[in-house]
């Protein structure tokens, strides 16, 4: 069965390893010091999409990402692994979007793909992005498009007869669900890791860019005229026919009131050595005070 799959992926700052150099003297996070990476669970999502494609010849996988021009890298990373094409949603007016405004813009773009490029059967994204950890965008996109939703997927077991069979994580266990297409699936980090980049595809697409990524003086600029696949899709809010009022800050019901650095109350600590005498006296002290029994 030929399917059309849209993969939602986000470029994120690598918040997992915020070292001392990433913190400014005032104790705030210096985003510039953190590398921009492919959101880890979106890679798991991409792999599930590519596996469905492997099992269903004729299936196409379209990358969809939202961000500044440099997020075109997400589309390239998808192409290197086997995706067919991709679109970058970029618009200054989408800045400051919370999850609701983000999901609105994404859903408008998916609706456009569905209208103009073929019916979308599956939308697959990571469970959550590591810069926000909200896990909200997936279900909100599903709601806006009226799609069924299956979150926390571990594996898309099969897609046939217009239904997807999915094994998913639940609190305290696992369950298997059957969901009619079209369906939006969010994939857990415990799902299969993404396949490596394919060397031939890297050679083919390494100069593929969104128009806004280009400075115009690249030595390979003349290639863009002869090789249309090197020009990646790029849409603004207007291109998607979306409503400005529902995008960016204007479309975000949540507002950030304050942001604080985390300061833990330092305690007066008692420092001991690992000597027998020190450890024994500590244990005795805890026992005497009935802290341990």
């Amino acid at each position: 069965m030929k399917l059309k799959i849209v993969v939602l992926a986000k470029q994120v700052p690598d918040t997992r390893n915020v070292g001392k150099d990433a913190m400014t003297a005032e104790g705030t996070v210096n985003r510039a010091a953190l590398p921009a990476i492919f959101n880890p669970e979106d890679l798991n999502a991409l792999e599930q999409a590519l596996r469905i494609k492997d099992l269903n010849p004729g299936t196409t996988v379209t990358m969809l990402t939202m961000g500044p021009p440099r997020a075109g890298e997400i589309i390239r990373q998808g192409l290197y692994r086997g995706a067919d094409d991709g679109f970058l949603l970029t618009d200054r007016k989408s800045a400051g979007a919370d999850t609701l405004a983000t999901s609105y813009f994404l859903s408008q773009a998916i609706a456009k793909i569905d209208r103009e490029l073929g019916h979308v059967d599956l939308v697959i994204g990571g469970r959550q992005a590591i810069d926000g950890d909200t896990a909200q965008v997936g279900p909100q996109v599903a709601q806006k498009l009226g799609l069924n939703q299956v979150t926390y997927a571990e594996e898309v077991i099969k897609v046939e007869d217009g239904k997807a069979t999915i094994r998913r994580h639940i609190d305290g266990g696992v369950e298997t669900v059957v969901a009619p297409l079209p369906v939006l699936i969010t994939v857990n980090g415990t799902a299969a890791p993404a396949r490596p980049c394919n060397a031939k595809r890297v050679m083919k697409y390494k100069y593929a860019t969104c128009p806004m990524e280009r400075k115009g003086d690249e030595p390979w600029t003349d290639l863009y005229a002869s090789r249309p696949y090197l020009t990646l899709g790029q849409w603004s809010i207007a291109d998607c026919g979306a409503d400005y009022e529902q995008c960016g800050l204007a479309g975000s019901p949540t507002k950030v009131k304050a942001v604080q650095n985390i300061v833990f109350q330092a305690k007066e600590s008692k420092t001991l050595t690992s000597s027998d005498a020190d450890v024994e006296s500590l244990i005795k002290e805890l026992l005497d005070e009935k802290i341990i029994g």
Partner: protein, 340 residues
């Protein structure tokens, strides 16, 4: 109208602990705002089985939706229950557990109602807000306080203009307590078909395996936790031994879980379990913010670390500078010698 709502999650006919924790918090917020606390629960065959697990936490009105197909949970029917009920009731605040279910349901409901939702809050407070852009002043908003940016900062989020103000909270973050005041305790059993169209029952659960939690980390009075400094899976055995002697449980930092030394369900921190033990023994844990956020309320914190500058030492009551594999066996030995 304008009340505080808590969505109560169930497994079969058992109400989740996180929901009871939220009822306790919801009651306090409702008292502060001078409104009612309402609860909603949906399942199959739950009538007369769940009420006693919900009402004692101070609920004024409980909506029980009992029908075939509402358990196991699937997204669409539960979404329509909340969306249609909220359209009738217009709550000002709606709280859900930051569980797999709550994090599946919350965003779908918030998108339907175009209301704001904040995930994984660690504190909820009531306060005022001045919108600098519009110059408008708002009284009594819900401050939704959560770690952001991988846990490196804490953000206070408000939803000035949209209702309900929705938030999810992880299990163990709030503490449950039976309500000692007087709540109305009314129970209603709405007609599910009026809220949920038949077309909602399209996703089928064909297989389901749930195990009771393998450990009692959340409620353990003593936690012996290991980090990357423990060094190996074998060394973790010592921690289990110490925990057994002390009648405690073993916890771990994300680094130790990622290294495969210990099960994921023992992870303490923002993305794991929040613990409030009497004693927390941190073995070879450097003390990343996301870890500390899950254990900072421990009564006594003992840090065993060969790095005297480890960040966790700042919040520790006792710091033992040394290797985990030297210190832990000594603790076991001297505990055995002195405890009897």
């Amino acid at each position: 109208m304008n009340n505080v709502f808590v969505y109560c999650e169930i497994e079969g006919t058992t109400v989740a602990e996180v929901s009871q924790e939220l009822l306790t918090k919801g009651r306090k917020l409702a008292n502060q705002l001078g409104v009612d606390l309402n609860a909603v629960v949906a399942g199959t065959g739950i009538k007369n089985k769940v009420e006693d697990q919900i009402l004692p936490y101070g609920v004024d009105k409980l909506f029980v939706f009992d029908a075939e197909g509402l358990f196991p949970y699937t997204s669409a029917p539960h979404t329509d229950i909340l969306v249609n009920l909220f359209k009738e009731e217009n709550p000002q605040i709606a709280l859900l557990g930051a569980t797999v279910i709550g994090r599946d349901l919350g965003p779908r409901v918030s998108s339907s109602l175009t209301s704001g939702l904040t995930a994984d809050c660690t504190q909820l407070e009531i306060g005022d807000f001045d919108d600098k852009k519009s110059g408008k002043h708002y009284d009594n908003l819900l401050y939704q306080i959560r770690p952001a940016f991988g846990g490196n900062i804490v953000a206070t989020i408000v939803n000035p203009d949209h209702r309900p103000q929705m938030a999810t909270v992880r299990s163990g973050v709030m503490q449950k307590a039976l309500y000692e005041g007087n709540a109305k305790g009314e129970v209603v059993y709405p007609d599910v078909a009026k809220y949920v169209p038949e077309t909602d029952f399209v996703v089928k659960v064909i297989d389901r395996q749930v195990e009771a939690a393998k450990n009692n980390l959340k409620a353990a009075p003593i936690v012996v936790a290991g980090g990357y400094g423990v060094g190996s899976k074998e060394n973790f055995d010592m921690l289990f031994q110490l925990a057994k002697e002390l009648h405690g449980e073993v916890g771990a930092s994300r680094a130790a879980v990622d290294a495969g030394w210990v099960d994921h369900d023992r992870q303490v921190g923002q993305t794991g379990v929040t613990v409030h033990p009497k004693v927390y023994i941190a073995c070879g844990i450097s003390g990343q913010i996301q870890h500390i956020a899950g254990m900072q309320d421990a009564g006594i914190i003992i840090s065993i670390n060969n790095d005297p500058e480890a960040p966790i030492n700042k919040i520790a009551d006792y710091v033992i500078v040394g290797n985990v594999e030297d210190v832990v066996p000594k603790m076991i030995k001297y505990y055995k010698q002195n405890s009897k």
